[in-house]
Symmetry: C2
Subunit: 558 residues, 2 copies
């Protein structure tokens, strides 16, 4: 008889902020029943993933065990928790459970991919539960920066797991459910085996501030600004949209939404009954004819995204609206590491227009949606689990959180993506490592991070590309090799055209290669291609200091 075990396996989110994808398993080793918690995306950057659209966790380990998956649970509707669902679900095909608002967004993910949205089942929050194999799972409300965020209370034969999802301790969240300390203390009293806990803000030393705490400052700003106000935040931060819009209206301003995500989110929250008193908005066309001091724009693009409304406004007119001297632009948001240059580009472009920009360094107009270190301490203490498993964060966050947990007297460990953690007893341990990579959505196609596609693109970005063509008839060449350059300077250190220098050197090499005995076989052609490639790289290195990617195309007359 094999003893059943309980395990935790992060496939994404436990080596980065974003891409949350977690697995719990229970049963006899290698025959455990499985549930998946969240299927999120990470976002690409030009440095490591040029041209990539989205990044998902590699779920091949799960796909190979799809028949053992009893359910997928989504804690909340942020892209880094639900964004990969439509893309990866066809490999897993288990029922998806969510709360109502998250379900609304999750269904859209399905429909966008031509899948049946009915696969997403909406469940009531705690004390409601879903039985999924050996797991009984309930959605218990927590406060965060999108409505209906939930921790999962997961009862298993080996004890109870509380999986926090993203959360903060906010008693006055403006929109949605407040963090209910009494409830969570009650859960703690019932006994918690494992607390799997958000780690993203573990380095923030002060207690988190409430969403309500910034309301007064935003109202003051809206009332005192002389011209138009444009404010940006994540569209999914519904409480913030409400605060900004109300402040605008209180200051006699009409609210205009710019950017698809912004309009969509307000529509979604009104449809689903999340927002009941969001002010009536006006269209950009109506806004055009309003005095600017009576306007409040809510715009997409808090991260400086080139195609969002904020960047468009920074460049010039957008849908007939233009910011100018005396107007105010407010970043009611935090710049995510890696987006600084893009955000500063928007800030400086607006600044050049004479707009007063209030950037994210002011802490008056934004609060985080995650638990800071003292809040984590409180959460540990409310739940008093046997084990704290730090989740969602880079290695440095997980490690610091494990340290905080240990200091608070709890067993803990650092488990990165692919670490299978046995949680059966009171001492958690990593007992296995599974392949946990990244998959890139590249245009319409998923490519593996290690497939070489992106590596080749990065190389071309650094060093340019040369295409060499050569036509051979028998053992003679017709016209000699040609070189076509992309992304390389036209002139090298010799002062001559790089193309011309290359063709001279290619001619010479061709003569040498043919002189050694040409033959009409593939082996000869392969060797010749290698020799020509080397000549191109060597010559470019000498002339322009770059070793480009080289494609050699040798054609033979039939």
């Amino acid at each position: 008889m094999t003893k059943d075990r309980l395990f935790y396996l992060p496939l994404g989110g436990a080596d980065e902020v974003g891409m949350n994808t977690y697995v719990y398993g229970y049963g006899p080793p290698d025959r455990e029943r499985l549930i998946v918690v969240d299927m999120g995306v990470a976002f690409p950057d030009m440095e490591s993933t040029p041209g990539v659209d989205l990044i998902f966790a590699d779920v091949s380990w799960l796909a190979e065990r799809a028949d053992r998956i009893d359910a997928i649970f989504i804690t909340h509707g942020h892209e880094d928790h639900v964004g990969a669902l439509g893309h990866l679900w066809p490999q897993l095909r288990a029922t998806v459970f969510t709360r109502a608002f998250t379900g609304h967004l999750a269904r859209r993910k399905f429909e966008e991919r031509g899948l049946d949205g009915k696969t997403v089942k909406v469940v009531e929050s705690w004390p409601g539960t879903v039985q999924a194999g050996p797991f009984r799972v309930g959605f218990a409300p927590v406060s965060h920066s999108i409505p209906e965020s939930s921790a999962l209370i997961i009862d298993t034969p080996a004890g109870r797991i509380v999986h926090t999802g993203d959360f903060k301790l906010d008693a006055t969240p403006v929109v949605g459910e407040a963090f209910d300390e009494a409830f969570w203390r009650g859960i703690g009293d019932q006994g918690v085996h494992v607390l799997t806990c958000d780690s993203t803000n573990v380095f923030s030393p002060l207690p988190g501030r409430s969403e309500a705490s910034i309301e007064a400052e935003i109202r003051k700003l809206a009332a005192n600004a002389s011209g138009m106000i444009a404010a940006t935040t994540f569209a999914s931060n519904v409480a913030r949209l409400q605060t900004l819009a109300s402040a605008g209206v209180a200051a006699g301003r009409s609210v205009c939404l710019l950017g698809r995500a912004m309009r969509q989110m307000v529509e979604d929250t009104v449809t689903t009954g999340i927002l009941t008193d969001f002010p009536k908005t006006i269209s950009p066309d109506e806004a055009k004819s309003m005095p600017r001091e009576h306007l409040m724009l809510l715009v997409t693009g808090s991260q400086g995204e080139g195609r969002a409304a904020s960047a468009a406004l920074s460049r010039g007119r957008y849908l007939g609206l233009e910011l100018s001297e005396g107007d105010t632009f407010l970043f009611s948001s935090k710049t995510i590491p890696g987006n600084e240059r893009a955000v500063l580009r928007v800030v400086n472009a607006l600044s050049r227009k004479g707009v007063d920009v209030i950037d994210d360094t002011s802490t008056l107009y934004h609060v985080s949606g995650h638990a800071n270190r003292p809040d984590l301490d409180r959460m540990h203490e409310m739940l008093r689990p046997s084990v704290v498993v730090p989740m969602h964060g880079e290695c440095r966050h997980l490690k610091e959180h494990a340290r905080v947990a240990a200091r608070n007297g709890f067993a803990s460990l650092v488990a990165g993506n692919g670490s299978l953690v046995d949680l059966t007893g009171t001492v958690p341990k990593v007992t296995d490592h599974v392949e946990a990579g990244r998959i890139y959505l590249d245009g319409k196609v998923q490519v593996g991070a290690l497939d070489g596609v992106i590596r080749n693109r990065t190389r071309m970005a650094m060093n340019g590309h040369v295409a060499v063509t050569l036509f051979l008839e028998g053992d003679e060449s017709d016209g000699g090799p040609w070189a076509d350059l992309t992304g390389l300077p036209g002139t090298g250190v010799s002062g001559k055209s790089l193309g011309a220098v290359l063709e001279t050197e290619l001619d010479r090499q061709l003569e040498r290669s043919m002189g050694h005995g040409a033959s009409e076989d593939e082996e000869f052609d392969d060797r010749l291609a290698d020799e020509l490639r080397s000549v191109v790289r060597r010559t470019c290195d000498t002339e322009v200091g770059k070793k480009p990617e080289v494609t050699v195309l040798i054609s033979r007359s039939n």
Copy 2:
């Protein structure tokens, strides 16, 4: 008779942090004599300048007027003030004046480019001066984060200019000259027409802290750490190197320098007599045999640079040394916007090894080298100029600094790169705009930012590259077109090989194009190439959602 005028013209540094390149002119309009202040670089990033090595100001405006340049002055030895000197000097060929330590570094810039280092003339600091055409220029010491930083006091027939260079108000700078408030008040008493003033830290609301203020904390850290300590900072921050090294020695640690720039800078400062009591260092080989708690490594790579010592240590063993559990890594530095991801990569890799990382969010171990807003207020007040010209900063910095100056009661304006500012009277005004672009050092070659070379590389990075080859004999093709793909997925949404789908579509197009009447002229070939290019882009878009860069090579038998 034409009236003489005095002007200021930033060619770099007045729309960015870095790339400092300023011009002053005096004389009859369009016949002014010119001096250049600083010739610095900016640093590339993967997003906008992949593969680029360095960025310079475009000095073609100056080059066309090289006969009117009387001198080049370098305020201090940071790369963003002196780094372009060797690269751009051949276009300008004027004598370069510096103080001794800066001259040491500037001469190396010349020699690295095969130029005669004797062009750099070392001058004594104020009251020493150099006459350069109508300008009499003196180097007046200021405190900053590299030795012998100087403001320039520039006397002209239209009044005195104080050009601050980079500076802070530091009465206890650890190494080098303290900021001498009495001296600067004296200069103010003599009358200053224009204060051209560093703006980079204008958004920092608190008075700047002294270099000496962090000494105690660094000493405490060095004494209390249990294992090895590795600390990184800019190699040019000589005072910091001194503080770190002394703290190490005081804690019974031997100091080992890792990274070329670090060794070079310590050697330079000892050679030039800047550092007189830097501790004796040990080699990496000697360090290997020391107990780790007796070691203090000073390493390059505070910005997460992939090839620097810090990144090498984060990946594994470097020169026989390896950090592990219980060791400490200190960032005694600030992360420059845009480098966050690179720095976090190093932090997380070290964290994974069990190293305690103290990152740049702690303010205990680093102070800035620039004047904060209250310091700028003090500087304005010490010098009481007729005009404050904000210099060195992004648009947002210059604008805020102009606002601060106005609030302090001084005439001011925002002048970005290429703005020619007439400073003859007491009201500064932009009277002209000259072409002020960027030049990229790309390998060994300088290319213009708008030449398209980098744009093409960026496009390949985003969308991949396809090379199409076609051999034509008369009005028939030999073998049909071939396609060779780089940086594109092998399989598209049809499930077929993308290369095969492309060749089928290319065949079809070729047939259509030839059917419309083939002819053996260039016009036909150009049209055919365009048609084949469109087919490739359209087919790739359908199959993989990407429109690649396409090279079409049509060859004809003779």
